[in-house]
Symmetry: C2
Subunit: 205 residues, 2 copies
């Protein structure tokens, strides 16, 4: 008797169903994945270990969808800008996934690859070795925060002008929420790269 041609389930099917649910509803659950795949809830545990495991697989998925681009033949500034941008773009692909990712430590080796590229790039900047780690972390903080903000619902951020005049001036003509986030990201990216450049030149101590 031949063994069954195809199993009902696979890690890939589970991850895809989870991602689809996240994109559509902002979250996933075992019951809903099982329903989506026409399978019982408990059978999922034959392929994956836990909810956290699924989240880790989703993170890896984010880095496998868009292959990393070679970056060695540019100035370190342009290379850094490119890496940070592509990091952000991965999150932008599935914005609703971001909140699920930020509270969990990274295990996926694919993600490490990007950190490695960033480390290599920052070494070219002339930044002292002990500053490379902090620089990577700072960039990570910034990109994560920006990704989280992009997730937030469009809210008319109108903070009672009479109480907060400077804030009103600052947010007066800031356009749509997406434009606001994009401008903030571009600004922060320039400022970070410029700041790192100064630090590398020892112009700040």
């Amino acid at each position: 008797m031949p063994r069954p041609r195809s199993a009902l389930l696979s890690v890939e099917l589970i991850v895809n169903a989870a991602l689809k649910l996240v994109d559509e509803t902002g979250d996933f659950s075992f019951p809903r994945i099982a329903r989506e795949l026409g399978v019982s809830q408990s059978s999922l545990y034959n392929r994956i270990e836990s909810r956290e495991h699924i989240i880790e697989l989703l993170r890896a998925q984010l880095f496998e969808e868009i292959p990393p681009q070679p970056v060695a033949d540019q100035s370190w500034q342009d290379a850094a800008r490119m890496l940070i941008r592509s990091y952000r773009d991965r999150f932008a692909q599935h914005p609703k996934l971001v909140p699920l990712l930020v509270t969990q430590t990274v295990h996926a080796p694919v993600v490490m690859g990007m950190y490695e590229d960033l480390a290599l790039t920052l070494e070219r900047s002339g930044l002292p070795t002990e500053d490379i780690g902090p620089a990577i972390a700072s960039i990570d903080y910034f990109a994560l925060g920006a990704a989280l903000d992009a997730t937030a619902p469009d809210e008319v951020w109108d903070p009672s002008p009479e109480q907060f005049p400077a804030l009103r001036r600052a947010t007066a003509c800031s356009g749509t929420s997406a434009e606001r986030v994009a401008r903030a990201f571009n600004f922060g990216l320039d400022v970070l790269v410029a700041g790192i450049e100064m630090r590398a030149k020892q112009e700040i101590y």
Copy 2:
């Protein structure tokens, strides 16, 4: 017949119980708050509207525990550094609360007060008006990311040296997790302020 001397419940009691549970376990729930206060779960809904409402009250609590310090009699650089630091310190007070806060939009007016101070400070830097919003957002991203990282469990971040040599060099002697985060925060803070200073001087475009 006199009315009861004191109600069994108050918003303050609920918020304090929730914060205690978060500090101890990393989360709160209606059943556990109710048990803590010796009260039925459904009675909580007489004082608060939803789980999200409690989270918003916890955020406000974070800003009321430490009163904001006056900041007008310093250089804008020192003032900015101070504001960003105190922002981060609020999170550090209750690290396990941070993951609950980052995925929810801000409503608390207390928080707006800090943004207003930051806006006033950045105006003094000479930054063009249209850059103030992006600057505040970038700082917010950075501080939030740093706070999230401080929450993460101490993990020996040892990424198989042979695969990621630059990453290994960067993280070689980075000490404890708390030290690592502190160094990253200090580095990023300097870099951000220096970058904003350059931008204000039109030295970058």
